[in-house]
C-alpha cells in the first residue's frame, strides 16, 4: 500500500521545473530586476507600486470578465459535446468527436491569425455571415466590447482537451448505473442531472479550475496576436500586461510581483468553485 515512491519522479521534476523556479519568482517579486545585473532587493516597494497600479487592476478586471464568460462557455461546449458523443458508435459520432477536437490541433499562433482574418471587419467571413443573416456586426476588432467578444470566440472553441477529458469521464461511468436509472423509469434529463453529471463533477471541476487558470494567466497569445490589447486597452488582459511588463519594458522584478499577485488571485478565485462544489456534493449526497 505504500506507493508514494511512485510520485518521486513527479515531485523531483516539479521541484526542479516548477517549485524552485516559483520560489525564485516569488523572491524576485521583492526586487528590481532587469535581467542584466543581479536583482536589487527593494523591500515592499513593488507592493506599494502594485497597489497604485491602475492599469494592472483594470487588466485583472478584464481577465476576470473574460474568464467569467469563457470558462462556462468552454465547459458547456466540452461537456455538452462529450455527453452528445458518448456511447454511440458510428461514422457520425466519429466525425463529431474529431470535429470537437480539431480546433485544438491547430497551433496557437496559426489559430490566432486565422481568427484575425475570420473576424476582419471588412473581409472576414464571420461579419459577412452575420451580414447575410441580418445580425448586426458587433465590430469584432474595432469596438471595445466587440473586441472582447471576439476574444471570447477565439478562446472558446479550442476545447479539444476538455472535451477529451470529459468524454473519458463520461465513458468511465459504469453502464450498470444507467441501467438502474433506466429501470427506475428516470428520464434522460434526470439520469443526466442526478447521475451522469454528479459522477462527472470532480473532473468537470478540475477542468473548470484549469480553464480558469489558462484563461486568466496563460492565454495571452490570442490577446497578443488578435487584438494586441486594443482597441484602447479594451482587451489588455493581465497576462498580456505582465508579458509586456516583463519583456517589452524589461521589468522582470515588478513583473514577478504581478505574476505572484495573479497566482494568489486565481488561487482565491479557484477556491470558490472548489468550495461551492464540495457544498453541492455534500448536499446532493444527503438529500433523498
Amino acid at each position: 500500500m505504500r506507493r508514494w515512491p511512485l510520485a518521486a519522479p513527479y515531485l523531483a521534476g516539479s521541484a526542479l521545473l516548477v517549485l524552485v523556479p516559483l520560489g525564485l519568482a516569488a523572491a524576485l517579486a521583492f526586487t528590481d530586476y532587469f535581467g542584466f545585473r543581479a536583482p536589487e532587493f527593494t523591500g515592499a516597494d513593488n507592493l506599494t507600486r502594485l497597489a497604485a497600479d491602475g492599469t494592472f487592476w483594470d487588466a485583472v478586471g478584464i481577465s476576470a470578465f473574460v474568464a467569467a464568460v469563457v470558462v462556462p462557455l468552454r465547459l458547456l461546449l466540452a461537456v455538452g459535446a462529450a455527453l452528445l458523443l458518448a456511447r454511440r458508435r458510428g461514422a457520425r459520432t466519429a466525425v463529431g468527436r474529431a470535429a470537437a477536437y480539431l480546433p485544438s490541433v491547430i497551433p496557437d499562433a496559426a489559430w490566432a491569425l486565422l481568427w484575425l482574418w475570420i473576424l476582419n471587419p471588412l473581409y472576414g467571413p464571420l461579419p459577412a455571415l452575420l451580414g447575410v443573416l441580418g445580425v448586426p456586426d458587433p465590430g469584432f476588432l474595432t469596438t471595445p466590447w466587440g473586441a472582447r467578444l471576439g476574444l471570447v470566440l477565439v478562446m472558446t472553441f479550442q476545447v479539444g482537451e476538455a472535451f477529451v477529458v470529459a468524454l473519458a469521464a463520461r465513458l468511465a461511468i459504469p453502464a450498470r448505473l444507467h441501467e438502474a436509472i433506466e429501470v427506475e423509469g428516470g428520464s434522460p434529463w434526470f439520469a443526466m442531472t442526478r447521475v451522469t453529471l454528479p459522477l462527472m463533477a470532480p473532473i468537470v471541476l478540475v477542468l473548470a479550475v484549469r480553464d480558469m487558470v489558462v484563461v486568466v494567466q496563460n492565454a495571452f497569445v490570442p490577446t497578443l496576436l488578435v487584438t494586441d490589447g486594443g482597441p484602447a486597452n479594451a482587451t489588455l488582459t493581465a497576462p498580456l500586461l505582465i508579458y509586456r511588463r516583463a519583456f517589452e519594458y524589461g521589468e522582470l522584478g515588478y513583473a514577478s510581483t504581478l505574476s505572484v499577485t495573479l497566482l494568489v488571485l486565481t488561487g482565491i478565485a479557484a477556491a470558490l468553485p472548489l468550495w461551492l462544489a464540495a457544498r453541492l456534493a455534500a448536499h446532493q449526497r444527503a438529500r433523498t
Partner: protein
C-alpha cells in the same frame, strides 16, 4: 450535432481554403473563400522561409521523448496520490493544485536560469524536461480521478497477490485507466507539438527548435504572403491531425470495450 461539428470544423476549413489562395493578391472578400485558381505551390514555397524538415524532425523527437515520459510520470504520481492517505494525500494534492495555478510567464525566466545553471539548456530535448514535472499537474489530477474510479478491491487484490507498487502500477492500474492514458498522451503530444514559448525561452540554437516556433516566426509574414503562412500552418497541423486520428481510434475503442 451536425451544426456543432460544422461550427467546430469551420476554422479548419477556412485555414485549408486560405492556404490554397494565390499569394500577393488582395485578400478574399467575406464568404468568397473558394480559391480560384488553387495554388498548390504555396506548400512548395514554405521551405524557402523555414527549414521545415529540420524543424519537423526536432518536433518529432521532442514528442517521441516527452509524451511517454509524461504519461509514465503523471500516471505513477496519480496512483501515488490515490493510494496515499491522510496528510500525505492532502499534501500531494495541494502541491499539484498550487502548481496548476502558477502562471507560465512567472516561470520562464527562473526556469531558464536554473536549466542553464544545470547545463541542460539547448538540446532538442530541453523542452522535454518539462515532462519530468508531468508537463502540467492537470494530467496528474486527471490520472488521480481516473484511478479513484477503480474499485479499491482491485488494487488491494493486486497488492495481496504480491505485486510490487511498480507492478501494480504497470500491470493493473495503468491498463485499467487506459482511456485516461491515451487522453494524456494525446493532450501532451499536442502540447509539445504546438508550444513555442517554451523553446523560445529555453532553447538557444535555432537548429534545435521545434516546428511550432518556426511557424511562429513566420507569423509576421507580409499580409500579402498570408496564404503561404497558412500553407505552413496546414503542414504543421497535418501530423498532429494524423496522430489524433490514430490515437482517437485506440482511445475510443479501448473505452468502449470495457
Amino acid at each position: 450535432m451536425i451544426v456543432l461539428s460544422a461550427v467546430f470544423l469551420a476554422p479548419l476549413a477556412v485555414m485549408v481554403l486560405g492556404s490554397l489562395q494565390r499569394p500577393l493578391q488582395p485578400p478574399p472578400n467575406g464568404l468568397d473563400l473558394w480559391p480560384d485558381p488553387v495554388e498548390w505551390t504555396n506548400f512548395a514555397t514554405v521551405p524557402r522561409f523555414m527549414p521545415l524538415g529540420r524543424l519537423l524532425l526536432n518536433s518529432l523527437l521532442l514528442v517521441v521523448v516527452a509524451v511517454p515520459v509524461t504519461v509514465v510520470v503523471t500516471s505513477m504520481a496519480g496512483l501515488a496520490i490515490v493510494t496515499a492517505r491522510g496528510v500525505l494525500r492532502r499534501w500531494l494534492l495541494g502541491v499539484s493544485v498550487l502548481m496548476l495555478l502558477v502562471p507560465a510567464a512567472a516561470l520562464w525566466v527562473p526556469r531558464v536560469v536554473l536549466l542553464r545553471g544545470a547545463g541542460l539548456a539547448d538540446t532538442p530535448f530541453t523542452v522535454a524536461l518539462l515532462a519530468l514535472a508531468g508537463t502540467t499537474p492537470f494530467y496528474v489530477l486527471l490520472f488521480a480521478l481516473a484511478y479513484s474510479r477503480i474499485p479499491s478491491a482491485l488494487l488491494e487484490a493486486a497488492t495481496l497477490e504480491g505485486l510490487s507498487p511498480f507492478a501494480v502500477w504497470r500491470r493493473i492500474a495503468l491498463p485499467l485507466v487506459r482511456p485516461a492514458a491515451v487522453a494524456v498522451a494525446a493532450l501532451s503530444g499536442l502540447y509539445y507539438w504546438s508550444t513555442f514559448m517554451d523553446p523560445l525561452t529555453l532553447v538557444s540554437s535555432p537548429g534545435n527548435w521545434p516546428v511550432a516556433l518556426g511557424l511562429r516566426n513566420l507569423s509576421e509574414m507580409e499580409a500579402a504572403l498570408y496564404p503561404i503562412y497558412l500553407a505552413a500552418a496546414v503542414l504543421v497541423t497535418a501530423p498532429a491531425l494524423l496522430a489524433f486520428g490514430i490515437a482517437q481510434r485506440s482511445f475510443f475503442s479501448s473505452v468502449e470495450r470495457s
